[in-house]
Amino acid sequence: MKVITLGISNAMGLWAAMGLLQAKGWGVLAVLIAGLIGLNVALLSKKAYPLRYLLPGLIFFGLMVVYPIIYNINISFMNYGTGNILSKAQVISQFTNEYYQPEKSERFSYQIFRNKEGDLRVLLISKTSKKAYLSVGKHLEPIDLHAPSLVYEGGKLVRIGDYERMSMIQIIQNLAKIQDLTFKYNDGLVKFSSVTEFQVYKPLYHYDEKRDVLIDLKTKKVYRPIDGTFTSSDGEKLSPGFRAYVGFRNFVDILKNPQISGPFMRVFSWTFIWALLSVLATFALGLSLAILLNDNTLRFRFLYRTLLIIPYVIPGFISILIWRGLLNTNFGVINDVLQKFFSMKIPWFQDPFWAKVALLFVNLWLGFPYMMLVSLGALQSIPPELYEAARIDGAGSWQRFYSITFPLLMISLAPLLIGSFAFNFNNFTVIYLLTGGNPPIPGSQTPAGATDILISYTYKLAFGGAGAQYGYAAAISIIIFFIIGTISAINFRFTRRLEEMSENL
């Protein structure tokens, strides 16, 4: 059993490792090899017995949690995004494959020949040196025009071996294919340039490895790689750029560059307001209902509880989309009713204020059952003797609530409320599926909407229609990481759960 497991997983691991080796994926390869070594140690060594249980989870945890987080931090320091997608090597090879037509380049008259399979060969005669060349694949070879394979009829060359000469009409019919033909010639290329001739093209750029510069051979300008773009001394930039580390530029831009920081600050403050109001509203409603239901004299209270948790049980994405239909400004049921009774028509998704109201309303619907459930649980854990004692001391029901119930509830519910704040802080699904972050902020350079929260804004930066800004998106998600981390730390302080937990280890 042991041997078989080991054999199979080693074989699979090695196979994957070979793939990664070819792909030069060092990061993942390291994780994989660490995993494989771990597996072998775990199964072969007695001392490492616990590893047999831990390893499967550890591998996934390393690959899908630790690695992405590190990778994300890495990207946040890069200019990765539209315009800077490719690696430096790819960009250099793209530039060094660009050609230009020098003013005094060598010109050729040409004849094109085609065989039955449709393969083409080109016969070129230089207009300056009068030398003749015949194409062989991507190359040109000098040819003797009196060679036996060349067949003449009436003084005109009509055939080379199996290849028949094409007429001008045929050439024009196949122009696209012919324009793609390129042949190496000295340090340049020979290409079709007009219906009457082929011409020599020269490479436009030369990459000097030692100096790490790109030289424009036409203008002799020198371009240095600066922040992922080849830039000349007078500031001219070559497009595309490549992926490169840009230090804290993304973070600085988010905070200081007005085009980016303007919408960011709006999104940032709305995210806090949104999370705070969502928690307050759902908790207020949930707690009120819990108090009403926590009444032994109420008949059918379990039935009511079951009915009230319905919003919690319908998958969120479905109920959010239903609400989107019901709130539709022109056709929705809600505006229909409002129009009939109050002759109002509310622009739910067109006006920033009403879009926010709609979001909070729908999130209240989604979230109150959870708050009701946890409040009910907490209420039931308060010892009834306390109320008895308070009643004997003559405390009224309101006084009992704020001096006994509420403080005791807060002790057990505070961490859950903070957790709910953190959850709503990143509640992408509601925002994205209900309003999509819209309506857009007028005049914003980035795809920010009035109801976007940080995570939906990040999502749009990376995967929205306006290009893929992976670098900025990763940087913002690092900022969210820190905010959430702070919230969790506060949460732990509140509950001293960390201390408790580390005592129990």
Binding site: F317, P369, T429, A462
Partner: protein, 285 residues
Amino acid sequence: MHNKVRILKRIIQYAVIFTAIAFAFFPVIWIVSASINPGGTLYGQKLIPEKSTLEHYKMLFTDKRYPFMLWLWNSLKVSVIASSITVFLCALASYAFSRFHFRGRRAGLLTLLLIQMFPVMLAFVALYLLLLWIGKYFPFMGLNTHPGLILVYLGGALGFNTWLMKGYFDTIPHDLEEAALIDGATRFQAFVRIILPLARPILTVIFILTFIGDYSEYLLASIILTGSKKYTLAVGLNLFITSDYARHWGTFAAASIVGSLPVLIIFFSLQKQIISGLTGGGVKG
């Protein structure tokens, strides 16, 4: 006098509860009504349709452009597989953390806890690029594949659930396994035959909460799945709605109801266990 106050209180109590129930059921009632309303458009919908039809439900099976049933199947497949593997991996890891004493145990648990504070979903750009890259060499688990999505879901679920399960394992007395070990069982046999059956409540809760979370997940599914045939229901329905909302309201309504059923059924059949799991600290994902 005292009696009057009590009656008034009762009336307010009922009024609030029933208003809340009406609020909770408001969209449900409208969507059920829309799903059997022959008209099928969003505009001019009536709460109680004059005639009823099952046409919209039939559309779910026959619509060629929007393969709802395939999407539903994809969702179920991805979430069942992801949550099964999650439970399996977590059970193994938490058993080790709960029963064995080894170097790095404390550090391992704390690391797990600290890293889990940062929702891995936030690193979605990195996850996307990671899968893009994996897909180049192992196409069956790259972008636009279900194994790729499952892989991503697994990552997000391990830390917190391992903690939850370890807590439960700690409460199971050691004597039972020790007796089994004396009787000649191996450690692994003791784990499988004794601990796992005893831990069934927590295994169920984690399975179901993970299932519901993955089933409803939109963000990661929407960036990883790019082809209509691979969509989960969440991604598919959103696409359907943005393109054909007002006209196909009836079909959407039917799809919503069918799509809610798996979670509704699971939830209400295991309500007690799930609610106890929730109040233990999870927030719906």
